[in-house]
Amino acid sequence: MSQSGSELLRHIKGQIKEVDPSEVVQLLGEGVVVVDCRETEELTAGVLPGSVHIPRSYLETRIEGVVPDRSQRIILYCASGVRSAFGAHTLMAEMGYDDVESMAGGFILWKDRGYEVEVPRSFSAEQRERYSRHLLVPEVGALGQQKLLDARVLLLGAGGLGSPTALYLAAAGVGTLGIVDDDVVDLSNLQRQVIHTTDRIGTSKVDSAAETIKALNPDVNVIGYPTRLDASNIIEIIEGWDIIVDGVDNFPTRYLLNDASVRLGIPVVSAAILGFEGQLSVFAPGHGPCYRCLFRQPPPADMAPSCGANGVIGVLPGTMGLLQATEVIKLIVGAGDPLIGRLLMYDALAASFTELKVRQDPECPICSRDPEDIGDDELGVFPDYEAFCAASG
């Protein structure tokens, strides 16, 4: 027997739970996932603080990526509570979610009641055009682009990995990029360090990278640190950044960065390359293992080859650097499954990826402790540290 749209809505509403905005306002930030299921263009009037956006038309295909746990409490809302009612019914009746409610009256009633809304930044006409392909992607959209423009990402090095990462993060509109590098552009860099140019040989890499970035996207503010990272300056340099991109070529700096980033709670998107092979992982303090959980200590200096000594195929840092940039963007906009607790190995000669599990070490000398207890004199220290540094020059 067929039924009219209004009959169907009445029927559906009889089968789901509705929740009043006055209750929802108490639940924000309390572990409930609030899903805005309106279309992207409806968001300009504002959204509920902390809500995630999945348009109704993508709800079934994308909800598992956002809420994998079927027992998680979810509140759906739309403009008036109709689409969210149908959505709530589908999630519970068809997809096995246990606890889904639809907010009665939707965003219109929420706003009429005077509750707080987050209004996405208004973009200039040029920004709407520049980022138009992002604005069309549901996982980014206006809110994601705003997050990118507000984000602060620190790149350790404007070299092989840092070059492609910086270029694509700048193109994506990451608002503030920090670059730590005390080197100058050398002719032998240009086989892979694509942010620099032949006419800039001999100039500072920080300045060269900033020039390229500004030419690519004037929205991006570049903060240069023409210095070397060491135990005396690392906390000062990395404090206040949202995400750090690590591609340094030596173990002492990797351990130093790990320990300092765990202390400050800053996620690190890390890659390493050698020859035709790359490794990639995301170390997010409080959410997964740290670098020391993966490798408790570095190899002795004579077993730790670097690209400078052993060479690298020029495209490889491009591949790995862009995988890093992808993870950075995912972390910023909150899309997908970040590479936390996993390590991706790329074998360019075999054209194959291998994924390995990285477990948090309950006895990790750094991340198993209260971050505030990690002292200045412990940062980057490992057994035989003095001998290692002496041997590696």
């Binding site: 350790l156 090095g157 404007a158 070299g159 092989g160 990995l161 840092g162 070059s163 590098d181 005390d182 080197d183 070397r228 990272l229 060491d230 135990a231 690590d246 591609g247 340094v248 070529d249 030596n250 173990f251 002492p252 700096t253 130093l256 890659a271 390493a272 390359i273 050698l274 020859g275 035709f276 092979e277 490794q279 993966l294 490798f295 408790r296 200590q297 570095p298 190899p299 077993m303 730790a304 080859p305 670097s306 690209c307 052993n310 690298v312 840092p317 390590l343 190995m345 074998d347 000669l349 075999a350 291998t354 994924e355 390995l356 599990k357 990285v358 477990r359 980057g380 540094c389 590696s392």
Partner: protein, 97 residues
């Protein structure tokens, strides 16, 4: 025979191969047979105490053998072992402490 994936840093020690095969019922047996066939791998894999070096991880398929039964973890012919040494190759040869 289990397959062992050899990382770049160890390839010179196994004649340049990316993968080798070795017999053994446990991870320890397979690695012992690898070392017997390619003695140059010994010092890079094992410390003087006979344990795996802390800067080398060995995975049975995708799981770190340290969270399984270590060197006594059982291995079948269908399994792959992945040797993963810490690797720091990156963007800046001049960045040193």
């Amino acid at each position: 025979m289990a397959t062992i994936r050899i990382p770049p840093v160890l390839r010179p020690s196994v004649g340049g191969e990316r993968e080798v095969e070795a017999d053994g019922a446990t991870v320890g047996d397979v690695l012992a047979n690898l070392v017997e066939a390619h003695p140059a791998t010994r010092d890079q894999l094992f410390g003087e105490d006979g344990d795996l070096n802390r800067y080398v991880n060995v995975y049975l398929n995708d799981e770190d053998v340290r969270v399984l039964d270590g060197l006594t973890t059982a291995v079948t012919a269908a399994d792959s072992l992945v040797i993963l040494p810490a690797m720091a190759g990156g963007s800046r040869p001049s960045l040193r402490i």
